[in-house]
């Protein structure tokens, strides 16, 4: 079966010469929820930015449901890949929540009742339909994170890519987000160094370290391998163990 996401030999160096990816390989099938684990600076965000063509590979390739990520395909690729940025303030830029959620589908050409339907559906999916006319910057951080998720869900992506979804969330917001993610019927790639969260939500994990994928397997097995984790600067929280 054609994987939803196929990354082959992906290498990338930033314009200042700093190389962040050294040939990463990753394949994700429809319906999977996969965690992309790695310490700070491993290249996780850089990898995520390649998945919808914001960065162009120095070498290697990315394709989404068989469609290569290349310039002529960008519009369709960005519909298929929903990228949720780490800081919701980067994502939410319009005056009201409803307008921000409508931005993506409107770029796809939807109008009128159809557009309204998408907005409603996405806000319901994240459990925040009552916030539609509020200003994003007046919401709590946890609410902003979920609205940011809604702005991407409104495009009905084939794969959802979340960059550090739990950063800066308090425990309650963290749990609420997990409930939302669990309720979604969509393929997910979750970039994180929050290992318990990966264990809770993603049956499969891959570890990115120094720009290459160094491990790929069931999350429980990877997290039980203390040597593997230590070799790649990953640590379980104090008192936490995987059995």
């Amino acid at each position: 079966m054609t994987p939803v996401l196929a990354v082959r030999g992906l290498a990338y160096a930033y314009p200042d010469g700093r190389q962040a990816l050294f040939g990463a390989n990753l394949s994700i099938q429809r319906g999977e929820r996969v965690a992309l684990l790695g310490p700070n600076g491993a290249g996780k965000t850089t990898l995520a930015l390649h998945l919808n063509g914001i960065l162009t590979p120095g070498a290697g390739s990315v394709s989404v449901s068989g469609l290569p990520v290349t310039k002529p395909n960008l519009a369709e690729i960005r519909r298929r890949v929903g990228l949720v940025f780490q800081d919701p303030d980067d994502q939410l830029f319009l005056p009201t929540v409803a307008q921000d959620v409508a931005f993506g589908p409107a770029n796809l050409g939807l109008r009128g009742a159809e557009l309204e339907q998408r907005v409603q559906e996405a806000l319901l999916a994240v459990g925040l339909p009552e916030l539609r006319d509020r200003a994003p910057h007046h919401l709590s951080f946890g609410q902003r994170r979920r609205v940011a998720l809604a702005t991407v869900l409104a495009m009905r992506p084939e794969i959802l890519v979340l960059d550090e979804p739990t950063s800066n969330l308090d425990p309650a917001s963290r749990r609420e987000l997990a409930e939302v993610l669990e309720s979604l019927d969509v393929t997910v790639l979750m970039v994180t160094h929050d290992l318990p969260y990966a264990l809770q939500l993603c049956p499969r994990s891959v570890i990115l370290s120094d720009g290459v994928i160094v491990a790929d397997g069931p999350t429980g097995e990877l997290l039980a391998d203390a040597e593997l984790l230590a070799a790649h600067r990953l640590e379980l929280p104090y008192g936490f163990s995987v059995v």
């Binding site: 960005r78 303030d89 830029f93 005056p95 009201t96 409508a102 931005f103 770029n107 910057h137 495009m155």
Partner: protein, 230 residues
């Protein structure tokens, strides 16, 4: 909407004279007075102008190359006069935007500008300014708190170099923020213009139009007078 007229008038003001700026400042002061805005609030707002202008300018540069000509409108006169008047213009623009932000619902503001069929770049810059006013002000504020917590006091001349470093950092952060926002927009299929379909809001009432026209007319008169005398 009056803001656009005002900003256009300000931008169109000849660059070799100073007095029109003073008069336009007075016009704004009157408007602020009428709207019962606290002067202190406006002054504090002005303090964030530096990273703010950087942020606004980041957008068109990042969008596409040929848009740079739009910014060229306000930086066409070389030398000191150019720099001086640019500063005066942006200060007036920010002041006008602050007054507007304090008196208008932001959603209506963006929709209003779009209905006037203004160049989308201008609409976007202005609406971003309004949206990120809070974010940048807060960032600026946090940096100030962090400085103070480490015993910094802006009292003697030796502190100025630290302050100018801070201004530089604020500038860079605002620019990077602009860059990330732009990336996030691209990720959702942005192709150079905000879709009009998302900006639904109420139309201005006739009285409001009256005020808007009056403000624009006043600033345009000042501008044309200054062209006549220049």
């Amino acid at each position: 909407m009056a803001l656009i007229g005002f900003v256009c008038a300000v931008v169109a003001t000849p660059s070799l004279t100073m007095w029109p700026f003073v008069v336009q400042l007075l016009v704004l002061a009157v408007v602020a007075g009428l709207a019962r805005l606290h002067p202190g609030r406006l002054l504090r707002g002005l303090a964030i102008e530096v990273p703010f202008v950087a942020f606004a300018f980041a957008m068109p540069f990042l969008a596409t190359g040929d848009r740079i000509t739009v910014a060229g409108l306000s930086v066409s006169v070389a030398g000191l006069w150019g720099a001086g008047t640019l500063l005066a213009k942006s200060t007036l623009g920010v002041l006008a935007a602050l007054i507007l932000a304090a008196t208008t619902q932001r959603a209506e503001f963006v929709a209003g500008m779009q209905r006037l069929r203004l160049p989308s770049v201008l609409v976007e810059i202005l609406s971003f300014m309004v949206r990120y006013l809070d974010v940048i002000a807060e960032q600026w504020h946090r940096m100030a708190i962090a400085r103070t917590s480490r015993g910094f006091q802006a009292r003697n001349p030796t502190s100025w170099s630290a302050l100018s470093g801070a201004v530089g950092t604020g500038f860079i952060r605002a620019f990077e923020r602009g860059e990330r926002v732009h990336l996030a927009m691209l990720a959702r299929g942005y192709s150079g213009a905000l879709p009009e379909a998302i900006g639904a809001a109420r139309a201005a009432r006739p009285v409001e139009w009256g005020w808007a026209v009056l403000l624009v007319a006043t600033s345009l008169t000042i501008t044309s007078l200054s062209w006549g005398l220049a």
